[in-house]
């Protein structure tokens, strides 16, 4: 059972555009949602995260929008840069259970 779903599987945008990556989940006990950025051959890096008590989290060009009622969240990358080309993973966990569930990832390509 896939508890965290990501869409689209791949996304291509032009430099300067806003990339929108979507994530949804099923388990209502999930309350912490990190996004990871992974470049080929490297370990994932924690990019930004949000807790379920918030509906928005912003860090520079990266913003998470969270809808608890619909169990959906999205990552917006504004002014996309070629260096943002990577795979982005959405994850979800219930606080303190040590076992986050990861989505299958969205592969983002930003063309110059």
């Amino acid at each position: 059972q896939q508890q965290v779903r990501q869409s689209p599987q791949s996304l291509t945008v032009w430099e300067g555009e806003t990339a929108i990556l979507n994530c949804s989940y099923e388990d209502s006990t999930f309350n912490y949602f990190p996004w990871y950025q992974q470049f080929p051959g490297e370990g994932p890096a924690l990019l930004i995260s949000i807790r379920s008590v918030s509906d928005k989290k912003e860090d520079g060009r990266f913003t998470i929008f969270f809808n608890k009622r619909e169990k959906k969240l999205s990552l917006h990358i504004t002014d996309s840069q070629p260096g943002d080309s990577a795979t982005y993973f959405c994850a979800a966990t219930s606080g303190g259970n040590y076992k986050p569930t990861f989505g299958k990832g969205t592969s983002l390509v930003v063309h110059p």
């Binding site: 990871y36 370990g43 924690l46 995260s49 966990t93 076992k99 986050p100 990861f102």
Partner: protein, 111 residues
């Protein structure tokens, strides 16, 4: 600042041979430690986690084992590799909260 080191960077091993992968975290005492496996182009699957020295919890059964011999060290091993063990092995740590920080990974190829 905390640093996480994994060794080796890459391994090519034969089916049926033993394996030992290592992970060390410096700059943080008593971290929570985790092992993940990632197939090429795939998602991250947690294998083991450890909250304290000497205690390891298994999350999935993949004919692998893990040990935590020291506060800052996490070892992943098996006595007999399978083709299905090929992939990218990632160690991660957390300070005790929900955030997890990944290491650079070890690429394993089983032939």
């Amino acid at each position: 600042a905390q640093t996480i080191h994994q060794w080796p960077v890459a391994e090519i091993k034969a089916v049926g041979s033993p394996l030992s992968l290592g992970c060390t975290i410096k700059g943080k005492s008593s971290p929570n430690l985790y092992w993940y496996w990632q197939a090429t182009g795939g998602t991250l699957q947690q294998l083991f986690y450890s909250i304290t020295v000497g205690q390891v919890e298994s999350v999935v059964q993949l004919n692998l084992s893990a040990s935590r011999p020291k506060d800052d060290q996490f070892i992943l091993s098996t006595e007999k590799l399978l083709l299905s063990h090929s992939g990218f092995y990632l160690c991660a740590w957390s300070p005790g909260g929900d955030e997890q920080y990944f290491g650079p990974g070890t690429r394993l190829t089983v032939l």
